[in-house]
Symmetry: C3
Subunit: 273 residues, 3 copies
């Protein structure tokens, strides 16, 4: 039950090591605190192995990657693998440049990820080696709808099987699968796409959920995805007509902060296939 | 009409490539989303040419420049020039260090900018090769007033002619000129200077306005400047007595999010000379 | 009197050079503006000496250090020492990795700091060369309580004597000492630890307070610590039941913005030992 997933984050307060972009890093730190976890950001190759060793989970996000941080991602990822720590990959903008595509592919080749979370265009690029990512947003042609849902699930399951990772494809409908069990989550609000970094925040939070629920990793990912979407719904209800995307972004983090396990259990909107 | 400028941003949703500082980058991303554009931040030399190619506009901001990102700025700028994409330069702190002054001068020598936007001290330094910038704020002696307005306009026009760029000098009164036509914008609120990065945000948004209105670049810049100032006025009106600069910053972005083309048309306070 | 300390920041508007982490840098800039100072962020070795020379104070924070910025910290610190500018060190995560511990120790060896501000675990690590920092938070075993307060004060005084710096150990009770005079500050609210970067913000603000009150450095540090804690109390009172840590973070900065010298004088909760 999703309730337990959040409960365990609050109980265990996992320390999460983030190697992430400088655009949304502050929100990633605050959402980790909001859900009950602790953030640490460190990206120098001389310290990442040590930092990741004192943490319970690692979140790798390629949003503003560069040669210096790519090396650190590989070092941290390998160390986390050695220690059996859960690792989340957020392949931001995979498909938008060769550097991003090749880095993401190198990462999944050299590191065993627990979770790979991205939009459909990013995940397709990662699976097929090329794609049509429009910057950091999903291509409209790739959009997940009720019509193509079954196809996307099949694709996600195949990619989960190939990588051994839980695949989380987020969009209007979110798909989480470990190949055996698949969750379709229908929480969220369209306005979330007008706030920068809701995906990055979800990846950070996913690392916390998986770190605190290692025996139930798939369910933990689904719970994190559902919590983020439900926070988007809750936050939307608070908005007055003069509020915009900036206030909305704050309210989403606030909603995670105030979300009890019971609220998540009740607010979660998903089916298992 | 400014109305059309904003309308076209909302219609075209231009993807804007930002090579910008890590201080205000999150707000730059959110204000781009607020006005209807999409942000992508990428600063590694191995990907900037490709990233800028999939975008409609480029925003270069030297706020926390370093040798690695300076090289990327030059690569991205040249590629954008080749593709005829609009480019905005925000010479943050030009005059505060040799590195900033020389980098900004090198950038305008090697790249043809569509717009150069800064405070009066930064633009003077850029034009004369030396100046009195106080950190990232304009020197008080440089302040634009009704008394020296004509002189500043003459200076801006001469610099526009020399560089071939639209010059946007922002302050209590904003001057936008392409040498032929000059806009004086009187929107804004003094409290905006207590929020970090309102200038950076304006530069990012200016790139979006110019990208979506390439046939009317000067008017697009004036509309962006006016929209930012008007958002500052709108946001100020929402403040309660316990609100301060942090809430004000959020409300400014909110105001852009909620600004309709009609509201901008009505709220814009400018004259053409 | 703390009142005068804040008054002088507002009067002198000190320009503060920050070499700081990319996680909380935006909040550091906004809190500096909120208290009446001006921020500039610059971390390239080619410009830091020049930038620090035009400023009145320097704030060095090792939150996301790397080899490039460590070199810049040393250059800037030495230049600030030459110019007799006050310097604050925030040894974020000292103890969490060898790189952080060694860098912090190298910094205090090669640079004379005016103030060293951190949590008890960070300061202990710095004093003893090893410690038990849990990421960027203090170890629970290190927690300052009424019971161990005298011991912690003795430790802080000894470290102040050894380093010649004012030591500010912040936590549930804050200790500020220059070895001769010790302030115990009891402002603040537990929820402040759920907002990322309140420590970083305090360090930035401390640099401003010391820069504007160089004749009364210890009292200036105590006033800054008290102002931050009091802002946490004020902000907490504004919260509605749907507000969380994100809104709380904004309100803390807002509270600094609206804090008059008289309010600080009245709200400050401290004793001198």
């Amino acid at each position: 039950m999703f309730r337990n997933m959040l409960e365990n984050v609050r109980k265990n307060c996992p320390l999460i090591h983030n190697i992430t972009n400088y655009v949304t890093v502050n929100d990633c730190a605050n959402i980790l605190l909001a859900c009950g976890a602790s953030p640490i950001m460190a990206d120098d190759k001389e310290e990442v192995a040590e930092i990741t060793a004192i943490c319970s989970g690692l979140n790798i996000n390629i949003g503003t990657l560069n040669n210096r941080t790519i090396e650190s991602m590989l070092i941290a990822g390998k160390r986390a693998n050695d220690l059996n720590h859960p690792i989340v990959l957020d392949p931001v903008g995979c498909g938008a440049s060769k550097l991003r595509t090749e880095t993401a592919m190198k990462l999944i080749k050299e590191i065993k990820f627990t979770v790979i979370r991205g939009n459909i265009s990013e995940i397709k690029t990662l699976a097929f080696g090329s794609g049509t990512t429009k910057g950091v947003d999903a291509d409209i042609a790739d959009k997940i709808t009720e019509e193509n849902l079954d196809n996307v699930i099949d694709f996600a399951k195949a990619f989960a099987e190939k990588t051994g990772a839980i695949i989380a494809i987020t969009g209007a409908i979110d798909i989480i699968t470990d190949n055996r069990k698949t969750y379709c989550v229908r929480n969220g609000h369209p306005m979330m796409s007008s706030v920068t970094g809701t995906g990055c925040q979800l990846s950070a939070m996913t690392a916390a959920f998986v770190a605190a629920n290692s025996e139930h990793a798939s369910e933990a990912v689904a719970a994190a995805v559902s919590a983020m979407g439900y926070a988007g719904e809750t936050a939307y209800k608070r908005l007055t007509k003069t509020d915009g995307n900036s206030t909305y972004g704050n309210y989403i983090i606030d909603a995670i902060y105030n979300m009890t396990p019971e609220m998540l259990e009740k607010g979660a909107n998903y089916e298992v296939r």
